[in-house]
Symmetry: C2
DNA sequence: TAGATTGTTAATCGATTAACAATC
DNA sequence: TAGATTGTTAATCGATTAACAATC
């Protein structure tokens, strides 16, 4: 049984934030840090920092603290950022394009290997160094290429059909920007959702219930 | 002491999802539902559904269940979607434009009242029915208008300056798309973050630790 | 009324925090 | 060595689930 079997989602979702703060410290030339100091910067407890890190091993040194560069590296490995999962983008509209231009997938454990769109006008145009293909080419693309994950930037109404298609082609990993719940249809998928309107509604609630507003 | 003082973030973050599923059921013409049935559809426990809802009041009827339309309405009110907080957008690039065109803020408790950008080439162009203004106009705009929240679609490097500015103008509520932690600088702000790369790193981790990959 | 399903209390489970012995 | 700080166990706190009496 690998250690990682039992790591809770609460811990996992905190890892990217550690990685982010450690990268910053590293860029600033800081080479060692204690759990107390890191906790202070991140506005969490030192206990949580030590507990979180010790899920994966003892990266610190008693009496000294943690090496910033080494700890950053370790967390990167734990997250699997050194991997390069092959991903395809579905929906090369404003939103998909903006995200492709905004993020550097290679630093996040992915390689974008193809972009698809159902709009003939977009097919043939360039995005993220790739030529946009028509959705009809999915089957032939999958015959010749290995694909690990799909990034969906399509409207809610289009998701069900596309996911049925991709699922039948073997895709079990999704990054989903629509308000469609893929996991309620296919329970054996790994899905990370970016539900923008859920997020905005939460902001609305918090503003309504914050005494200063 | 209002009831809402004590609602945990776990519960709050589930509310938009209830709202979404209830809206769907409502559109399908379903008029009543039991906690058991709703839980099944949403893939959670019936206990959780009842506990969550009872934080805000008894919306159900014993022996019958919940009225879909009424429950949807109530949750909308709890979230404050009937409100209309005045929001400004900062950063009218690909990303900001895509989001403005993708979401209907009016249904989410907000009204977009102005868009700002630091790029002279964007100033004067239209976005979301508004004319894009230059960041220099922030002071004069705030003199004449009330603003509740800022939506930030600017690069990480630009956030600190803009937030200092907006904070000095009285803004305490932010929707933040950059990987900059506003709350660690200003602890009395309400911030909802959309950290896309954190999200993608989490997907990477989960794919790495999912036996099927 | 009888059956169904809520509202709510109690039990369980998990996550966070505190404390401290181990050790660099 | 003495001081500092980890790794880890124990205590607390909170969230989820189970159970059931209330009641429509």
């Amino acid at each position: 049984m690998s250690k990682s079997d039992s790591i809770s989602m609460s811990v996992i979702r905190r890892l990217p934030r550690y990685y982010r703060f450690l990268s910053e410290l590293n860029d600033q030339g800081v080479d060692k840090i204690s759990s107390t100091k890191l906790a202070e910067i991140m506005n969490v407890t030192a206990s949580q920092v030590r507990q979180d890190l010790n899920n994966f091993g003892g990266f610190g040194q008693q009496g000294y603290g943690y090496s910033v560069a080494q700890l950053r590296e370790e967390i990167g490995k734990i997250l699997g950022l050194d991997k390069s999962f092959k991903a395809i983008l579905i929906g090369a509209g404003n939103f998909g394009s903006a995200v492709v231009n905004y993020l550097d997938f290679n630093r996040l454990g992915f390689e974008l290997v193809a972009c698809f769109d159902c709009d003939e006008n977009k097919v043939g145009k360039r995005l993220g160094g790739l030529t946009i293909r028509h959705d009809d080419e999915l089957d032939s693309f999958f015959e010749e290429n290995h694909v690990d994950a799909a990034f969906l930037f399509i409207p809610r109404s289009a998701v069900e059909n596309i996911v049925d298609k991709l699922y039948s082609l073997g895709i079990r990993n999704y990054w989903n920007f629509s308000h469609y719940d893929i996991t309620t249809r296919y329970r054996d998928t790994v899905v990370e959702n970016v539900h923008l309107s859920d997020n905005l509604m939460t902001l609305c609630y918090r503003m309504n219930n914050n005494p200063t507003n």
